[in-house]
Symmetry: C2
Subunit: 363 residues, 2 copies
């Protein structure tokens, strides 16, 4: 990495993030969930979903704007189905809802083999990969998708912005096989709108087929990009559509009003879907060469990364490398600009200042 | 369509296909499943997964080569999980296994909200989209994935062929909303190896980033293509990997020996995964504007296909159009070459000949 990082103790980071959330009216439990998610993202090198992003989003669209309701309670909707639950999150903090939903899914999976929780009236859970990664570390197969707040993506061959960037996240229990859980986690657009704006500022061309201009034509000129394209043409379009349809079945309303104006009788909130599978519920128990299930998964992965593919990465490897670097340094790795932003938050919270010189340089 | 089609009565097609399967030792029930799948694919305009392909595959890799065992019985593996089952298919015909697995998933979903069946020792089920489409027509959310027989795809940035073309298929209950179920159904490679061979014969360039040459470099020269690339770079790679990992958890062995040589103590069979969700198990019951769940899904789709996207297709629309054309003609639409191939099969089976002049031209 060319950028210079400084080592911030976990406790110092988490304490400030919790204080910031509590000052916005979130409960201690919610605030701890907010800190846990941000801390975990930063620990794994996910700089796009850190506490700064989370607190900023909360201010602009969340508790600062009525999109998220601190101290809201989750209502479990009555259901006749034993392995699945549906929740009305009442716009409770997304991270708190997501952690609880994953815990419920795991319990259901322990009993039924598979468990799922669908969530209506949700607010942004930040980093989907984080939830499935934690469950996968505990040995489960985990999945989540959600509808993104804003419709910024056009359907395949379309020109109107009617789909969210709608991410999918899968976590697989591969820690014993490769040292970390494989985490497949991405948005269904080629790039995010934040990335487009960054490219426009830096005057860097976009990859081909990532964005369209106001005429609906593909453009690599970030300054002219007005909408995002799904990755992989009609295939990524299908995956973006899947989240919209599941949300439509759960309780989400029109994608084009989501995250925007709120009218009487309308809904502008997002939906979440979570699912966990117990690995024993997949196993036929008859692996080649007398292998156990985990040994079999290891053999399969080694085969995939053999035959000339030794330098290929597994999804989740960059995050594992990030965590290893954080671990080696004994704390979270933040840039000067990030530390200054945290210092500003500390000032707003009335807690001790963050001074760059107090943090050692990362190795 | 520029190609000329002729109308073949369903019963005539199904009767011949059943006879062909039975003469290979398949039971009447299995043979009916084989005919049902082929008939359904052709009815929906899916010409790559018709009876000719199915019978040819069965001859080369299936009952003709020990890869598929006619009249095999499915063993249900004992499991402590109520909403999921694991089956040892003992290489029974894939179509028969898939229909039965979907039926089991639907029953489990009726009770638990979600049901799943994982299948070890499987043989090719042909058209995954067909199974999820049928379940979606009955109102369910259905999903299946499988490992493809041969490793023909390279990992992202790799050069060794270690992944199958590993398809995913989702079916959504949208018939009341748009007249047909949305079916998202595709392989995780950009194109199939069959398509590469066709392009090589016709001397047509491949799309970019679809294939690599023997040096591991991307090529659009179909005659030089030796391996396939996943669609959408690292994202499609993750989706291809997902099937391999699920198969590894179920009981599949190394991808590079799958569908190839069979050694003592090894396994070269594929795996299937099926899952069905009951739509009521997703619903929070609080749709905007007083809508019912189905009305809400319709409103969501209309929003997505509005705003300048009126000419965009939904996944499943081409299949619905194909079915409408078959329905209008009152039979299956086959080309001259296809009818000649069926006539050859009729000759082998000792059943009445198929003469082109006996079939009316399709409108």
């Amino acid at each position: 990495m060319s950028e210079r990082f400084h080592v911030v103790p976990l406790e110092m980071h988490d304490s400030l993030v919790e204080t910031a959330y509590q000052q916005r009216g979130f409960t201690p439990e919610e605030s701890a969930c907010g800190a846990r998610m941000a801390s975990n993202a930063t620990w794994h090198g996910i700089r796009t979903h850190n506490a700064l992003k989370a607190l900023h989003l909360d201010e602009l669209f969340g508790s600062g704007a009525g999109g998220c309701r601190p101290a809201a309670s989750i209502e479990v909707v009555p259901s006749r189905f034993e392995a699945s639950q549906v929740w009305n999150a009442n716009r409770k903090m997304g991270q708190a809802v997501a952690y609880e939903a994953m815990d419920t899914c795991k319990k259901l999976a322990d009993q039924y083999g598979v468990g799922m929780v669908s969530v209506d009236n949700a607010f942004h859970y930040l980093w989907g990969g984080g939830y499935v990664m934690e469950a996968a570390k505990e040995g489960y197969i985990a999945y989540t998708n959600c509808t993104s707040a804003l419709a910024e993506v056009v359907p395949f061959k379309g020109s109107g912005l009617t789909l969210g960037t709608n991410p999918h996240s899968w976590g697989l229990p591969t820690t014993e096989a490769v040292g970390f859980p494989i985490v497949i986690d991405w948005a269904t657009s080629v790039v995010s709108m934040g990335r487009v704006q960054q490219f426009a500022r830096e005057n860097v061309p976009l990859p081909p087929n990532a964005a369209i201009d106001s005429e609906g034509n593909p453009t690599t000129d970030a300054s002219k990009a007005t909408g995002l394209l799904p990755f992989g043409g009609h295939k990524g379009y299908g995956l973006a559509l899947l989240n919209e349809l599941m949300a439509g079945l759960i309780g989400g309303s029109l994608p084009t009003i989501r995250g925007r104006s709120h009218e009487e009788g309308e809904k502008n909130s997002t939906c979440f879907f979570f699912q966990v599978i117990h690995p024993d519920a997949l196993s036929a128990g008859a692996f080649a060469q007398g292998r156990e299930q985990k040994e079999n998964v290891k053999a399969v992965i080694e085969d995939i990364l053999g035959h000339g593919n030794e330098n290929c990465l597994l999804p989740g490897q960059p995050e594992a490398d990030g965590a290893a670097r954080s671990g080696k340094n004994g704390g979270l790795l933040l840039t000067k600009a990030e530390i200054e932003a945290f210092d500003e938050i500390a000032g707003q919270c009335g807690t001790p200042a963050w001074n760059l010189e107090d943090f050692k340089a990362a190795i």
